[in-house]
Amino acid sequence: MENLIQLTSQFGWSPNLNTLSIILPLGISFYTFQTLGYTIDVFRKKIPAATSLVQYLAFVSFFPQLVAGPIERAQAMLPQFSRRRYFDFEKASDGSRQILWGFFKKIVIADRLAIAVNPVFEDPTLYSGPHLMMASVFFAFQIYCDFSAYSDIAIGTARLFNIQLSKNFSYPYFSQSINEFWRRWHISLSFWFRDYIYIPLGGSRKGPTRRRFNLLVTFLISGLWHGAAWRFVAWGVFSGLAVGVSTTQSKLIAMGVEYTPKQSTHHRNQVIETKSSDPVTVGGEAFLPHPATLLRIYSTFAIICVAWILFRANSLEDAWFIYRQIARDLINAEAYRDLIQLMNVDHYQRKTACILLAFVCWEWIFRRDPYPFQLKRVSALPRWTLYTLLIWGGLYLMARTGTGEFVYFEF
C-alpha cells in the first residue's frame, strides 16, 4: 500500500491510506495472480472458461488462501468447486493437524525469533559480525516458519472442506542447490513466475545466455513484487544470478557421481533445468546425511541467508553495512567470544536457539512427509499427548511473546 502511495505521488496523486484500503482490499496481490493466471490459461486455451460465476468467484476468493496464498491455478481449483463434495474424515483430521502445526510454527518459533531479530535489523551498527550472522540465520527461519505456517493453516483449513490446495513449502532449507531451494520455497509463486513470465520470455529455448537473462528478469520482477525498494531489486538480482550460477554448477555436478537423476528427460521450459537431479527425498535418503550432502545443504543455506539480509534490512546501506561487518569479524575470535558470553547471559536467545535446533531436527526426521506433523506411524495416545503439549506450550509462550502479523501480509 505504502509502495503504491509512493509510486502515485510521483505522478502528483497522493491517495489516502483508508481510501486505498477500500480500493485495494485484503490479499489483492495474491488473487491478482490467480485471476491473471486464469485469464492467460483461458486465452491460451489450456482450460475452458468457467461456466459458473459462483464457482469462479469461489476460486478467486476462497478464504483460507485469499490473503497470502498458496497461489492456486484454475485448472486445479475449478474442478474441485464443480464436483460434488463430501466430508472426508481422514482429510479433515489431517487438515486439523496441519492447522495446529501452522499455529505452533507461527506462535512458538516465528514470533519468538522476531523478538530476537527485529532489534538487530533496526540498528545493525550496535552489533558485532557474529551477532549479525546469528540474526540473519534467525531471520531465515523466522520468515520460513511465519510464511509456511500461514500456508499450513490455509491448506489445513481447505482440507476441512475437502478442497486440496497446492503445497507451498517443501523443506526448502534442506535443499542442496539454489535451484532446488526455489522449487521448494513459495512453490506456488515460483511456478507462477515460471509459467507466466519465464516461459513466455523464452525460458531455456534460446541458449544459455538468454536463459540466464530470462532468469534474471523473472527474479527481478519477483523482487519488485515484494516492494518498490532498491533492496528488493538487489534481492531479485542476487537470487536470479545465484540461480543462473547454480544451474551451470548443477549440470557439472550431474555429470559426476552425484545423486542419481530421478528422471532422465528434462522439461524444456523448466526455470531450473536440473530438476531431474534432485534427490527423491530432500537431503538424501540416509537418516544421517553424508558430509558432502551436509556441505551442499550448508552452502545453499548460507547463500540464501546472504540474500535474506537484502530482503530484511531496512535499506541497501544497512544491508551493505551488515555484509561488511560480518566479513570484518569473520576471523575475529573476540567477537565470537562476546556472542558466546551474550548467549550465556541472555536466556531468551539461548532458549530460542535450542527451540530452533529442535525444530530443524524434527523437520529432518519427518522430511519424507508432506508436512512434518503428519505423524502417520504414531498411535493415538502419544499423538494426542503431543497435540496437548503443543497447545499448552504455545499458550505458555504466547503470553510472553504475543503474536505478530504474518510477514507476507504486507506483500
Binding site: 466430508f87 550465556n344 541472555d346 496437548t388 499448552w392 503470553a399
Partner: protein, 323 residues
C-alpha cells in the same frame, strides 16, 4: 441418517473429545497450581498497606522495586529521622507506577516519600508498564491489588482470550513446570511473605549466604520518548503529593559496579534528563550507590544485609540534610 454424514459425526465427536481433554488439562493445572498461598512473596503487599493505614504519626514511605526490599533497614532510618517508616517497595516487574498508586489513596499531609525505582523500570518500556504475568500473580495472591492496578477487567470474551486467558494459561504451565522440576530451592524459601519484617523490609537473606549474581547484560541507551514518559509519571506523582502536602525525595538505587560499567552512559543520560525535567529533591547521585559485587545477595540490585545497613544509614543522613 445419511451414511455420508457419519464421517462428520465422527469428526465432531473426536473434536469434542479433544476439547474435553483440553478442558480436563486446564482443570488439573488450575487445581494443582493455581491455589492462593498466604505465604507468597507478593502477598506481603497486604501487610505493607495495613501498616501504612495503621500508622498515625508522621510517616516516611519508601517506594520502589525489590532494591528497596533488600537494601533497606527501615529501623535505622526510623531511628535517625523520627518518622515511622513504611517500605512499600516489592517487585520491579509491577511497574513504575504501581507503588505510587498504592501510596496515593493513603497519602497524608506531612508524609515524606522516598522514590527509589530501579534503572530498568525507568528505561525499559515493558518494565515501565509492568509485567502482566507478575501483576496477575499479585491479584491472585492479594485480590485487593486490583484497585491499585491500571488494568481494566476484560469486557468481552475476546479480550479475555487475548489477554487474561493467555496469562492464566502461562501461569498454570509455568507452575506445572516448576512443580515437575521440584523447584524448592533456597531462593524460593527466601522469597516468601514470612521473610519480611514489620516495616516491609526483607530480612530473610541476612542469615543466608549470598549466591552468584543473576547474569546482567548492561542497560542499553534509552530512547528520549521513554525517559519523557518516566519523567511525566514522576512529575504527575510529585504534583499529586504536593497537593496533599507530601514531600517527594528521589534516591538512585544501589547497583553493582560490574553492571554499572556496561550501563554508565544510559544511567548518566537518565540522571541528566530527570534532573532537568523533574524538579524534586535528589538525595544522591547514581555513583554514590555503586557497590562491588560481593555486597549484593543474588542480583545487581539486591544488597546483602551488612551493605543494606550502610546504604540505609547514608540514606537516612541525606534525608536529614534536606529536612
Amino acid at each position: 441418517m445419511n451414511s455420508k454424514s457419519h464421517p462428520l459425526q465422527k469428526f465432531i465427536l473426536r473434536l469434542l473429545a479433544f476439547l474435553a481433554l483440553q478442558a480436563l488439562v486446564a482443570c488439573v493445572l488450575f487445581r494443582f497450581t493455581s491455589t492462593q498461598n498466604s505465604n507468597h512473596y507478593l502477598a506481603v503487599m497486604e501487610d505493607k498497606i495495613d501498616r501504612l493505614e495503621s500508622l498515625t504519626g508522621e510517616r516516611l514511605v519508601i517506594l520502589g522495586g525489590s532494591n528497596t526490599v533488600f537494601g533497606m533497614h527501615s529501623d535505622v532510618i526510623e531511628a535517625a529521622t523520627h518518622y515511622s517508616v513504611v517500605n512499600l517497595g516489592l517487585h520491579v516487574s509491577l511497574g513504575l507506577e504501581f507503588p505510587m498508586r498504592c501510596y496515593l489513596p493513603h497519602a497524608r499531609a506531612g508524609d515524606i516519600v522516598v522514590l527509589c525505582p530501579e534503572y530498568h523500570v525507568m528505561m525499559d518500556e515493558s518494565q515501565q508498564i509492568g509485567d502482566p504475568i507478575v501483576t496477575n500473580q499479585l491479584t491472585e495472591q492479594w485480590p485487593s491489588a486490583k484497585k491499585y492496578l491500571p488494568r481494566e477487567t476484560p469486557e468481552s470474551l475476546k479480550q479475555f482470550l487475548d489477554h487474561d486467558g493467555l496469562l492464566l494459561a502461562h501461569q498454570w504451565v509455568s507452575r506445572s513446570i516448576k512443580m515437575i522440576r521440584g523447584r524448592d530451592r533456597q531462593s524460593d524459601k527466601l522469597y516468601r511473605r514470612s521473610s519480611f519484617n514489620e516495616y516491609g523490609d526483607l530480612v530473610g537473606h541476612y542469615k543466608i549466604k549470598s549466591g552468584e549474581l543473576t547474569a546482567f547484560g548492561g542497560i542499553p541507551t534509552p530512547e528520549e520518548a521513554l525517559l519523557e514518559q518516566t519523567a511525566s509519571i514522576i512529575n504527575r506523582f510529585a504534583n499529586q503529593c504536593k497537593e496533599k502536602g507530601v514531600e517527594v525525595y528521589f534516591s538512585f538505587p544501589p547497583f553493582a559496579e560490574s553492571a554499572f560499567e556496561d550501563s554508565q552512559s544510559a544511567i548518566s543520560l537518565t540522571e541528566t534528563y530527570l534532573r532537568e525535567k523533574c524538579k524534586i529533591v535528589y538525595l544522591n547521585r547514581p555513583t554514590d550507590n555503586i557497590y562491588s559485587a560481593h555486597c549484593f545477595h543474588d542480583s545487581v540490585y539486591h544488597l546483602n544485609g551488612p551493605t543494606g545497613l550502610t546504604q540505609s544509614t547514608r540514606l537516612a543522613k541525606s534525608i536529614m540534610v534536606h529536612r
